[in-house]
């Protein structure tokens, strides 16, 4: 009996004390949680420093995707209308976020590091159609001095689809 009352008092003291600690709540729409560096959020298609798209339309991401969420259609390109350094480029690139399981295998499979899962986790949508993100929604914006693709380039200046790459670091 006395022990029970003691334990009860300890419990009451615990709740009373925690009422004076700072709440752990993150006030979501105003304050956003800092995600980890390796967080797998929404995909982004990356560009090179000169503004060309990294994606060469090889469809390896679509092949490896366990949920069959990615659809890629590649097209030929010329030096007059150049999208990517390779022979071909992705004329269609769609990810269905109703299917995607955010496993990151597409990122692992990509030979040019074109597709990256970034930290955007605000992926709500109201219709099935709006769950499908098209290429222009996924592609990064061009940075200041560069023009949007396609570029007109000197013939023969790009002959290599897959760039020289270093081991990835965090």
């Amino acid at each position: 009996m006395a022990n029970g009352v003691y334990e009860m008092m300890r419990g009451l003291w615990q709740t009373f004390r925690s009422a004076w600690t700072k709440p752990v709540t993150i006030q979501y729409p105003e304050v956003k949680r800092q995600v980890s560096k390796r967080y797998r959020g929404r995909h982004a298609l990356k560009r090179y420093e000169n503004g060309l798209e990294k994606c060469i339309g090889c469809s390896l991401c679509a092949a490896v995707c366990p949920a069959d969420a990615i659809f890629v259609e590649a097209s030929e390109q010329t030096d007059d209308k150049r999208y990517s350094p390779g022979e071909r480029y992705a004329s269609t690139y769609e990810i269905n976020y109703l299917r995607c399981i955010f496993c990151g295998l597409c990122e692992d499979a990509c030979p040019t590091e074109a597709i990256v899962l970034e930290d955007n986790y605000e992926l709500s949508f109201e219709t099935r159609e709006s769950a499908i993100y098209t290429k222009d929604m996924l592609l990064d914006a061009v940075s200041a001095p560069n023009l949007p693709t396609p570029h007109k380039v000197k013939p023969g200046s790009f002959n290599r689809s897959v760039p020289e790459m270093k081991d990835p670091v965090d």
Partner: protein, 338 residues
């Protein structure tokens, strides 16, 4: 006492004031509870509707008004509709006998800050609280639902068991003041000390018994979510559910008010003879402290098992309350009461 038309107006205004205090108090007690519970669980609690969430009760009310009202096909319809009313009306009228302050003079007439000064106020409280158990039992029975029936039955058994201890806890202040009128009990505390100092055991027994009486955690057997979905109000929705909710919170306020009056000196406090309007402020402050205690217990203690609830009520609380009565009576005989 002369009964004239202004007297009747005074009564009407005071009744409306009590009803408003109860209903607005109900709304803000829910917010108070959610805020305090949240802080004890290291959260912020509602803070979106209005500054710091003060419009949350309004938002809840609007939501409940627009919800669908469902009556189960095989329910006893008349009793099903009547039960929430039977539960909420007693809760609203309990506080009618509680004084909120000393007499004040306004425009040449003395106004008593209470609705009724009846000489058996404590008995009145006991009988009115017993009526509201009918509402809960009938709600459980008329729903024609096994969970609701079990909740109603538990409620009956629990209230009968704890009402004994509650009644005996009332006896201490009655003996000390020599009266059943709450006005006299407060006046007796003005002459000596708040009765919690003379009746610590009585005050503890009172608080435990009223938690069982208003069906709050850790004694929320009749509405145990995990076992009985929602107990006696499983089948209720919309405003009928809101009435049960209202009854529970108004009863919380009522028992806190009565507890403050019996044991904490009611409206008494410093500077009362200079500014009589401080009386209601002191009373509300004491009620807020007692409500904090009720919420604090809910935040801390898990629900106790049904057989242990019964064993505790009959084997621990009831004998302790009897002992308290005997000790009080002996003390008054030896040292002189009043």
């Amino acid at each position: 006492m002369v009964i004239d038309s202004s007297m009747i107006w005074e009564w009407v205004i005071k009744s409306v004031a009590i009803l408003l205090f109860c209903t607005v108090g109900f709304a803000y007690t829910t917010l108070y509870e959610r805020k305090v519970l949240a802080r004890m669980q290291v959260r912020w609690g509602p803070n979106r509707a209005g500054p710091r969430g003060i419009l949350q009760p309004v938002a809840d009310g609007i939501k409940l008004i627009f919800k669908e009202e469902l009556i189960p096909a095989k329910a006893d319809k008349l009793i099903f509709v009547l039960a929430p009313v039977i539960t909420v009306i007693p809760a609203l009228i309990i506080t009618g006998v509680v004084p909120w302050g000393p007499d004040i003079t306004l425009g040449g007439r003395t106004i008593h800050l209470y609705l009724a000064n009846i000489n058996v106020a404590v008995l009145y409280i006991m009988s009115i609280t017993s009526i509201s158990v009918y509402g809960i039992t009938l709600a459980g029975w008329s729903s024609n639902n096994k969970y609701a029936t079990l909740g109603g039955l538990r409620s009956t058994a629990q209230m009968i068991s704890y009402e004994l201890a509650l009644g005996l806890a009332f006896v201490g202040p009655i003996l000390l003041a020599g009266s059943m009128s709450l006005q006299d009990i407060v006046a007796a505390q003005a002459k000596s000390v708040p009765f919690i100092l003379l009746q610590p055991l009585g005050a503890v027994i009172y608080m435990i018994a009223v938690i069982a009486e208003v069906n709050r955690a850790p004694f929320d057997m009749p509405e145990a979510e995990q076992e009985l979905t929602a107990g006696y109000h499983t089948e209720y929705s919309g405003m009928k559910f809101a009435l049960f909710f209202m009854a529970e919170y108004i009863k919380m306020i009522a028992v806190s008010t009565i507890g403050a009056t019996l044991f904490l000196g009611g409206y008494l406090g410093p500077f009362l003879n200079v500014a009589p309007w401080l009386g209601p402020v002191y009373l509300i402050g004491k009620v807020a402290i007692l409500l904090y205690g009720l919420i604090w217990l809910r935040a801390t203690l898990p629900r106790i098992r049904y057989d242990r609830l019964m064993a505790f009520g009959w084997k621990v609380l009831f004998p302790l309350a009897l002992l308290n009565v005997i000790l009080t009576a002996a003390g008054i005989t030896l040292f002189g009461g009043k």
